[in-house]
């Protein structure tokens, strides 16, 4: 076990850290937290103390509780986007790789989507709707899908040229079986690695969206909007921004380490694709 950890330090460190954070998010009510939305304007912006480990924010809410509950939002956004973008991107990529007719149209559409910088795309999509966690997830997913679909399509096109796949096609194997047996297993590895990067990126994009004011609504404590609310006071009450910033950085770090480790472990030749 220890030897395995030493050979794969990325997975070990990143994975452990991530597990701890997920546990903290899930067990939030048990971790000495109070209601993260309870207002107490009379006790606003108190520095960290025994009563409030991370201090209180501009409305008197306990920052420690908000940060712990905030882990839920960031993790949900990160995982949901990673899963959705991977799944949809997989579907589109396989379709484009197999069905010639669709390939051109779909890939042009994906290129079109990719031509718009992801933050702008997400902000524009958020401007269409009300701020909510679901809408943030949808907006960021839409921005990430094109890249995944390109990746998958590339893999699929490459696989299709391999002798054993050509043989299978020649032998008359039906496409769905082909996809299931030969294509999918080979896309899994790069997809998982890509998914981890998407997860990290989604968490940061959520923070940026909230920073600009186009992210999760203020009723929901997320690291992004705790920082956005505290940003005006960073010079006098830096703790309001510092704690969620540290939490976000550590989590994203964990996911990135995990992703790096997975990439090194799963296929060293994959270093060419990022």
């Amino acid at each position: 076990m220890m030897r395995w950890a030493r050979r794969h330090p990325g997975i070990a460190a990143g994975g452990t850290l991530l597990v701890v954070i997920v546990l903290a998010a899930v067990l939030a009510p048990l971790l000495f937290t109070v209601d993260p939305t309870a207002l107490a304007p009379a006790r606003r912006t108190r520095p960290p103390s025994a009563d409030h480990w991370f201090g209180t924010d501009m409305l008197g809410r306990d920052i420690y509780s908000r940060v712990v509950y905030g882990a839920r939002v960031s993790l949900i956004v990160g995982f949901a986007v990673a899963l959705l973008a991977s799944g949809i991107g997989l579907g589109i990529g396989v379709l484009a790789g197999f069905v010639r007719v669709l390939d051109n149209v779909v890939m042009r559409a994906m290129d079109g989507l990719m031509a718009v910088p992801p933050i702008l795309l997400a902000v524009a999509l958020m401007a269409l709707t009300r701020g909510s966690v679901q809408n943030v997830i949808v907006a960021i997913t839409i921005a990430e899908v094109p890249r995944v679909s390109r990746l998958v399509r590339g893999v699929v096109l490459g696989l299709r040229e391999l002798p054993y796949v050509e043989a299978a096609i020649a032998a008359g194997t039906r496409t769905p079986l082909l996809v299931w047996r030969h294509i999918l297993p080979n896309t899994l590895a790069p997809l998982i690695v890509q998914a981890s990067y998407i997860c990290a990126s989604a968490m940061i994009v959520e923070a940026i969206l909230s920073f600009i004011g186009a992210g999760t609504p203020p009723t929901v404590p997320s690291w992004g909007n705790i920082m956005a609310e505290g940003r005006a006071l960073w010079q006098v009450k830096p703790f309001i921004v510092f704690f969620p910033a540290a939490a976000l950085s550590v989590t994203v770090l964990a996911v990135n380490l995990l992703g790096d480790g997975l990439r090194d472990a799963l296929d060293p030749r994959m270093t060419k694709r990022y």
Partner: protein, 527 residues
């Protein structure tokens, strides 16, 4: 690419150019951070405070209120009024010119006033009583009314938008519902359209042809003597950045520092921080009177019982108790018409149980209450958050919709039921100067469908307002005000969330900064 000697010299000069020293050293340039972005300068068709503030530099009005709200002649030499207050004659000062060199004539005045009267409440009253607005000669003109109107001078000299600004005739002919595209006025500063970067910077330059009046300046009255060649408005939406820039000397004057940063600024010996306007502001919780639950006055009164002004004000004022006071009045504390008659429900300890009971009586049964919160403005966000909490305390089912000010501005005009794109509650605030009496006070109107957003319908309030307009003397005015206040609380036109003031901050080398409902740029100079 070969460089000749000339090029090398120029390059060297460029490299050695004095670095942008942190201090704004130029003594004739003022760098100011306004409260919001300036998107146009039309203070007749648009009513944002920031637009009004800019317009005051570029244009003038016929009269101008001083710090006691008494209108004084500005562009006019004086006036004559008939004993029955139905005929008002005015004469322009000689030598007034626009920035393009043309003289100001009666034709410009008439066109400007016509445009203004369409949009402004007092203007509309004048227009409804107007027999004729005619020129006497090219510097004189006259209003002929069919009903007396005593407050003409105040209407022509008031400082709240829509402003009765005098523009060249060709520009004043713009449809009153469309923004003007050319900014030419007769005021002490001209607007440099070519240097305007909307969202970032607006530049005003001294108009050499301006001749200020002889009297000392006092708000909008008296001589507007400018001591700057250039005034640069820098739009810095991030308060942390603005605060840092002020401390660093990169800007000279910050219109609305956020209260949390004020202690830091006060502790800096290079800066001066003081109350911007003793007339302060009234926070506002506005309900939709057209649809349930707040179409029932009992539900509205239940909110009155639950609103805790100290909570709202602590949130809005950044915990600085010196900035606010509770108020059970729709009129500005410290002014002539201030009265707390009828406001008892707002005073005293909060009674959530009684509020819940009253809600039940009004037939509230757990329906969703749509609360629109503009999260990009600090004041409305603070108010919205406290309201959400308060509604929860009295058992209401809150749908907190985090929006931006633009969207709130759009949706609040919709009279649709809340479930279908409408709303139940939104927040705003009003400058104290706009709440001193019913004249500038759009938010107090309770004419139902014609009233401001929320559409309160209270015949008693309307009667009170008419009584004020027709009041013959001061005693009658105050009596009318008391009646208005009582009726407004009875029918809960809106709920004042408290009276609060704001600070302004500037570098200590700036002298002549005064307290007023708007930033006054004349008289300010760098020492």
């Amino acid at each position: 690419m070969t460089l000749g000697r000339r090029d090398v010299m120029k390059l060297a000069a460029g490299l050695l150019a004095a670095p942008a020293i942190a201090r704004a050293d130029a003594p004739r340039v003022l760098r100011f951070v306004p409260q919001a972005n300036l998107s146009s300068l039309d203070a007749v068709a648009g009513t944002q405070y920031v637009v009004r503030n800019a317009a005051l530099m570029v244009w003038e009005t016929l009269y101008g209120v001083d710090s006691s709200f008494n209108p004084q002649p500005q562009m006019c030499e004086g006036h004559e009024v008939s004993d029955d207050f139905k005929t008002w004659s005015f004469r322009l000062r000689p030598g007034l010119t626009f920035h393009d060199g043309e003289a100001v004539t009666t034709r410009d005045v008439l066109a400007s006033l016509q445009r203004w009267m369409v949009r402004d409440t007092m203007g509309q009253i004048i227009k409804s009583r107007l027999d004729a607005l005619e020129a006497i000669d090219d510097r004189g003109f006259r209003f002929r009314l069919n009903k007396p109107f005593t407050k003409m001078l105040f209407a022509l000299g008031k400082g709240n938008a829509p402003l009765p600004l005098i523009m060249p005739e060709r520009i004043a002919k713009t449809d009153p519902f469309q923004l003007i595209k050319e900014y030419v006025g007769s005021g002490p500063m001209q607007f440099r359209t070519d240097e305007w970067v909307p969202g970032s910077r607006a530049v005003f330059e001294l108009f050499q042809g301006y001749q200020p009046r002889a009297e000392p300046a006092d708000w909008l009255a008296g001589g507007r003597r400018m001591n700057f060649d250039r005034i640069e408005w820098q739009i810095l939406p991030d308060p942390a950045t603005a605060g840092a820039a002020l401390q660093n000397g990169e800007i000279d004057w910050w219109e609305q520092p956020i209260p949390d940063l004020v202690p830091l600024l006060k502790g800096n010996r290079d800066l001066v921080v003081d109350i911007a306007d003793p007339l302060g502001n009234l926070g506002s919780l506005r309900m939709n009177h057209l649809h349930p639950p707040f179409n029932d006055p009992r539900a509205r009164r239940a909110l009155l019982m639950a609103v805790s002004q100290p909570d709202y004000m602590a949130a809005v004022c950044g915990g600085d108790d010196a900035l606010w006071q509770p108020t059970a009045s729709f009129f500005t504390p410290g002014t002539k018409l201030f009265t707390e008659d009828g406001g008892d429900l707002l005073k005293g300890p909060r009674n959530y149980e009684a509020a819940k009971k009253l809600l039940a009586e009004a037939g509230y049964n757990g329906e969703k209450v749509i609360l629109m919160v503009a999260t990009d403005i600090a004041i409305t966000k603070a108010e919205g958050d406290v309201t959400a909490d308060m509604l929860g305390k009295i058992g209401m089912n809150v749908d907190y919709q985090a929006l931006d000010w633009g969207t709130v501005g759009a949706r609040r005009s919709k009279k649709d039921p809340p479930g279908k794109g409408g709303w139940n509650i939104f927040h705003t605030w009003h400058a104290g100067a706009d709440c001193i009496n019913p004249a500038p006070y759009t938010a107090l109107d309770a004419g139902g469908a014609k009233a401001w957003f929320g559409w309160p319908d209270s015949p008693a309030v309307e009667q009170g307002i008419v009584a004020w307009y027709d009041a013959a003397d001061s005693a009658a005015e105050t009596a009318a005000a008391r009646a208005i206040n009582r009726a407004a609380f009875d029918d809960v036109v809106y709920i004042p969330t408290g009276f609060f003031r704001q600070y302004q901050a500037w570098r200590h080398d700036l002298a002549g900064v005064v307290k007023a409902p708007f930033p006054v740029f004349w008289g300010v100079r760098k020492t």
